[in-house]
Symmetry: C2
Subunit: 352 residues, 2 copies
């Protein structure tokens, strides 16, 4: 059974070129004291005196580097997704065309290794109306290496519970394209306190995961999974914090006057977890991994590495972002379950 990485980012070189022309985040810029251009895909609080962004190694844009990483780490297949912030920032008038061109580029890159590389496509979320998004979904269905789409939590600018997204969810469900949900926006910086303004530890560990949990719970409370019952989402970072909080969320609903007294039928969150949501296995520990598996099912959790965003700080033969997530599965699971999480589930769900 091959190992499949469903959380693996690649920016097509065209995207890097686009970022090089920009002077506001997101952008790519050469900082002479670092010696490499930096990818600033999110605000990095430059006042910190630390790095202004991520040194742009070829891991971020080169298919050859991706394949080399996969070979070194025993990963047979990767399902690539553009990293955040995708196309969220584009001028509306250009979004549709750029999305088509990025997806075409990703498809071509994957075709160089067509048994090993597949991808989640991007949508022109800033397009002036949803027809451009629907058109791009139809385009994606013609791309042989595409296996779904990747989306941030911003939606059309108002979050994933925006009713204007319903036609898009319906179209994605009808096209059998799972949506890989990934955070980018985190939480307002005020929550981290002054001592941590210079660090990405809290924004990435708690900010990202909370952003995902909020986005999906908002969708759930807005009834999206009732309205589009066959919508399939794959949640980054093992669902953010959703698997741990699901019981509390249901308890808060049961104790909310308006919700609890409503006669409207609704699918409970636990059922959504087991019917609409897949979780990646990027959780770095077996305690969290077990929680994710118990919440959504052993047939719904899929190994991932988040490559290349967790590059080791010092040179080492294997990246801990791979080994920690693999070892968590290995320690926790029997052979059959291990194969499901490490590749079988992804192969089945994404038809790899």
């Amino acid at each position: 059974m091959p190992h499949v990485d469903v959380h693996s980012h690649l920016y097509p070189p065209e995207y890097i070129e686009l970022l090089k022309k920009r002077s506001e985040v997101p952008y790519v810029k050469l900082f002479p004291h670092i010696g490499l251009p930096c990818l600033c895909n999110r605000p990095y609080y430059p006042a910190s005196g630390g790095l202004p962004g991520r040194p742009l190694t070829d891991h971020y844009y080169s298919v050859k580097a991706k394949i080399a990483f996969m070979d070194t780490h025993g990963i047979e297949i990767s399902v690539l997704s553009m990293g955040n912030p995708w196309l969220d920032f584009l001028e509306p008038s250009t979004a549709g065309e750029i999305a088509a061109s990025m997806n075409h580029a990703m498809n071509s890159l994957c075709q160089e290794y067509q048994q090993r590389l597949f991808f989640f496509a991007v949508l022109p979320m800033s397009a002036p109306d949803d027809s451009a998004i629907i058109t791009e979904i139809q385009h994606i269905t013609t791309l042989p290496q595409a296996r779904g789409v990747v989306m941030g939590t911003n939606g059309l600018g108002e979050g994933l519970d925006d009713p204007r997204l319903l036609p898009i969810w319906r179209e994605l469900a009808a096209a059998n394209l799972p949506v890989f949900i990934h955070p980018n926006y985190g939480l307002p910086a005020s929550v981290w306190g002054e001592n941590h303004a210079s660090s990405q530890i809290l924004p990435l560990s708690i900010g990202f995961t909370t952003e995902t949990a909020i986005a999906i719970t908002r969708m759930f409370l807005a009834g999206v999974f009732d309205t589009v019952p066959n919508l399939q989402l794959i949640l980054s970072h093992s669902g953010g914090t959703l698997p741990f909080l699901a019981g509390r969320i249901e308890a808060c609903i049961a104790h909310d006057m308006k919700r609890a007294l409503s006669d409207e039928p609704r699918v409970p969150l636990w059922e959504v977890l087991r019917k609409n949501l897949y979780l990646d296995g990027v959780i770095f520990d077996k305690i969290g991994l077990r929680t994710a598996i118990e919440a959504s099912g052993i047939d719904r959790v899929m190994f991932g590495t988040d490559h290349p965003f967790f590059a080791p700080v010092k040179e080492m033969p294997l990246w801990p972002a791979m080994t920690l997530n693999r070892d968590a599965a290995r320690e926790l699971l029997d052979d059959k379950e291990y194969e499901m999480v490490m590749g079988g589930n992804a192969q089945r769900v994404l038809q790899l």
Copy 2:
């Protein structure tokens, strides 16, 4: 083995009187269309058209109602804490005196049932300098029913990683007073989106728990547990989201250039969870409860109900906030473990 509830709130009547005199949150006010005064302890977004606060039943301030709840629900002992927002809002000059008087009142209430009621005392966190806080800690050690203190995440106004808190942590640790950490401030309202501005579901389920996880992780990153190694905290709501995120937090530290290359020794978060942190069992589900137990240890999780904040929406014989948390433990644990979580751990740690 008696059942012990470590997460049980009571406002002494003196506190309710104090809130009745206020016209800003927190306050208690009679809203004629409800027929009961309402406790507005946090902003309730009155634009919603829903309730402006919580109908102030006697569960909030009456020892008799507390004992009746305990009797109905098979709870032998409760460790009471004032509910949020405690004394955080007090004029600095009055804080010390009011704290002493509230703690005296709580102690007297508990002495009415001195085998069954104990309490976590409040500190005058808004006092002009820490000597008033230290003085009150010394006062608390003389109160026979006191078993620790309750504290929000605001600290002295700058969060729990504020270095000005170090003398207070040291004093609490030296006095062997565990600190029950409870959320109040949640997350900035912008993260909930417009559709949920009228609801407390997201602020209470995700806001509260994230607030706790952020506060403790900030303390951890600031080295508080290295500096005050015998500090003991009891975290509300099974640690917020900390047990699920601990692996990711450690991974983010290991991938942070500055932290990872530092030679400074530090206790890992997993060790803090097993050495400095106790978790209550207010998680409403066995999946989350198992995560909490795996993260901190079977000897460190203590049953709680959050009474009276999760009052049933419809009349029913037993409150689900009790039965859900008890049943989660019952389904998950063997007899010995069940007794530890339901009471044994609290009896040992809090000397009940």
